[in-house]
Amino acid sequence: MNPQQVDTQRRKVLSGALALGGISTAIGLGILAPSRALAKWQEQAIMTTSLEEGLSQALGGSSYQESDKVQLDAPEVAENGETVPVSVETSLPNVESITLYVTENNAPISAVFELGSRARPSISQRIQMADTSEVVALVKSDGKLYGTSRQVQVTVGGCGG
């Protein structure tokens, strides 16, 4: 293992620790939903290779309405498919969750954020992408699903003039 890898590992451990430490605080402040945050890691939804199944597991349905109140920010061309920075924001009211999925990934669901009542519905996440794909952000607001999508290119790279 080279020094760079060690460094990366250490950063992962550190960020993991921070994330764990932060959860109880987040629940206390009403940012994370208490019942869900510690109760169930959305393992089945995240691990499944069926998009329909995953969305049903996590959100109770998969059909959504296109909405310009969901803003998805993602690069047009990923600099590195391993870590593609994606942000979602919404002005929709009473947001229960924000879900990110990548249609062309083998396991399409990248993340499910379950938000508490006082959270500002704005998230940022690095996602992994195997290939050029639509990236979709779904927002559950007042029990309904709204969403928007963007294409992100993952290229073989090289060959620049």
Binding site: V77, E79, N80, T155, V156, G158, C159, G160, G161
Partner: protein, 582 residues
């Protein structure tokens, strides 16, 4: 853009002067016995009288070429969709017609591939730091306070540039008195080295500007975005835009914490901020490529001129693009390899540009006395390496060149060298646009370095399925021929040996490549083929360097026949496309 009557007259005057229609009989260069149709370079060729009150001098994409070279412009540079027949995607006679240039003027040689060998022998070499320095000094003598701007790809491309990790080129920039520059291939030396050289430059008053390079996690800017200068009482801002796709097109692991991209929102903020600080003229110094620069001009407000590089598309005259407010933005590109110096004079009154005057001056080494100080700087930079670079490795009977959408003759040799040297069935070599041309005769080790040198030029040999091979062709084609210039990553189509294909560049991702044959047989998507390549951007490699593989091939074969380069079967593009001359 359509030329107005006045533009056209001005251009004809410039062309007339260039073509020697004055008939004074006094000439600078090109005079040779024999019956060439090419016109001599008139004595007043480099007399560019000052006009206006804001003066910008610009060059780009020198690619480490401190000494004069030959550089053949492309015969295939396709314009598709909305860009068919539009500058800069014009070649040969179509380019001359568009700009009203004389067929046998020095400009015709500088801007086109026409009768390249004969014209190159007639006019001699182009560029060279010492000759460029003389042209800059002459332009500056007329224009005290003129800004000298460099769009980048300066630190890379020759042995001395590589072996000094860019120092030879930073020294050249300092000596020339570059006011501001930006980057692309500069980044291949790695984040720490870039910071070192930027500091070195800034100590000498040369600013490195790149508003779109930010920290990957925190989005903090890494470099300054813009500078403010004053010329004749007019505040002028220069904003820098590095090549947006560097982390994809080049090894991102050399600068793992830097993210790039277009970042047009931030760019607009910088422009507005500079305007807020009083700038009356805003110049974008860009390394995005000319077609992308024109797309920027359509989206950004408050930019007066974009002085750009990257795509090595020299234009004799600026494009005038209308911005969202209905205001014009001038877009120019100054070619590559030290071959051109753009001189843009702006007439600014009451805070607005009223008129402009432009020449994209070809630097003919035989027509400009070399600047002695710059010449000694170049000699010093070469001294430690001269012996190694001067080795004659072989000989060719035709012109070796690279530039063009598909294979050039130099890439044919390089691809064959990869197949033979790495014992492969298929060779890929990147469609770089840098690398000077070589006239028939001796080939030196320096020529090999000029085609291949970088910090990641190790060759690779690996197995790939037919499907993967097709995917590579599709992926590169989707960048070069994409209808959206914001997705162009620059370069030309990947060069190949051992395979043949048809391409319809007008189609979508995954649908452009067809009839793929490998080793004379239809490609089998599941079969594995041995593929040789070089310049892997994903991780460091340890194969032999591309320059050694190429030089060994020359050494082994000695006399090499130069044949027509392989061009895939073109579909969806008519023979009369103004970007196609075959």
């Amino acid at each position: 853009m359509r030329l107005s009557r006045r533009d056209f007259l001005e251009l004809m005057l410039a062309a007339g002067a260039a073509g020697g229609l004055g008939g004074s009989g006094k000439t600078l260069a090109g005079s040779r016995s024999g019956s060439s149709d090419w016109r001599e370079i008139p004595q007043d060729f480099y007399d560019v009288p000052r006009k206006g009150n804001v003066h910008l001098l610009h060059f780009c994409d020198l690619h480490g070429q401190l000494k004069p070279v030959h550089f053949r412009e492309p015969s295939v540079n396709l314009g598709l969709h909305d860009f068919r027949g539009e500058p800069p995607l014009l070649v040969g006679k179509a380019l001359l017609r568009h700009y009203g240039l004389d067929r046998f003027s020095p400009e015709a040689h500088a801007f086109t591939h026409l009768d390249f060998r004969e014209a190159a022998e007639y006019y001699g070499r182009v560029g060279g730091a010492a000759h460029l320095a003389t042209a800059v000094k002459r332009a500056r003598a007329e224009r005290p306070g003129a800004l000298l701007l460099d769009s980048g790809d300066t630190w890379h491309g020759s042995g001395p540039a590589l072996w000094t990790e860019g120092q030879a080129m930073a020294d050249f920039q300092k000596q020339l008195g570059v006011d501001a520059c930006t980057g692309h291939w500069e980044f291949i030396y790695g984040d720490e080295r870039v910071q070192e050289l930027v500091k070195d430059l800034e100590g000498a008053g040369t600013r490195f500007l790149a508003q779109n390079v930010v920290d990957r996690d925190w989005l903090d800017p890494i470099f300054d975005a813009y500078t403010l200068h004053e010329q004749n009482g007019v505040p002028v801002a220069v904003v820098g835009q590095a090549f947006p796709f560097t982390p994809i097109a080049n090894p991102g692991y050399m600068f793992p914490q830097w993210s790039m991209g277009h970042r047009l929102e931030r760019l607009q903020e910088q422009i507005d901020k500079a305007r807020g600080e009083g700038a009356q003229v805003v110049v974008l110094l860009s390394h995005a490529g000319m077609l992308t620069d024109m797309a920027y001009a359509r989206q950004l407000r408050g930019v007066d001129a974009i002085l750009g590089g990257h795509t090595h598309d020299p234009v004799p005259y600026p494009e005038r693009v209308t911005d969202p407010d209905g205001e014009p933005t001038l877009v120019v590109n100054s070619g590559s390899s030290g071959k051109f110096l753009s001189v843009l004079d702006l007439e600014v009154r009451d805070g607005k540009i009223r008129d402009f005057h432009y020449r994209n001056l070809p630097i003919f080494a035989n027509a400009l006395e070399p600047d002695p100080d710059m010449r000694s700087l170049v000699d010093q930079a070469y001294a430690p390496y001269q012996e190694r670079l001067s080795e004659v490795v072989g000989e060719v009977d035709g012109v070796l060149y690279r530039r063009g959408n598909f294979n050039g003759t130099f890439d044919e040799v390089l691809a064959r060298a990869l197949i033979e040297g790495r014992d492969a069935e298929v060779a890929f070599t990147p469609g770089f646009r840098w690398g000077p041309s070589v006239l028939p005769g001796k080939v030196t080790f320096e020529d090999c370095m000029n085609q291949t040198c970088s910090t990641y030029s190790e060759t690779t040999r690996q197995e790939m399925t037919g499907e993967q091979i097709k995917h590579i062709l599709e992926d590169v084609a989707n960048s070069i021929f994409n209808p959206d210039p914001m997705l162009h990553r620059g370069g030309d189509m990947v060069r190949t040996a051992g395979l043949r294909y048809a391409i319809d560049p007008t189609r979508q991702m995954g649908e452009r490549i067809s009839d793929l044959e490998i080793g004379g047989e239809p490609m089998d998507p599941k079969r594995k083929y041995v593929v040789a390549s070089w310049a892997d951007v994903n991780e460091p490699q340890d194969g032999p360097q591309a320059w050694d593989v190429l030089a060994d091939y020359f050494r082994e074969h000695q006399a090499i026949r130069v044949e027509q380069p392989y061009i895939p079967k073109l579909k969806g593009v008519s023979d009369d496309n103004p970007g196609l001359a075959v």
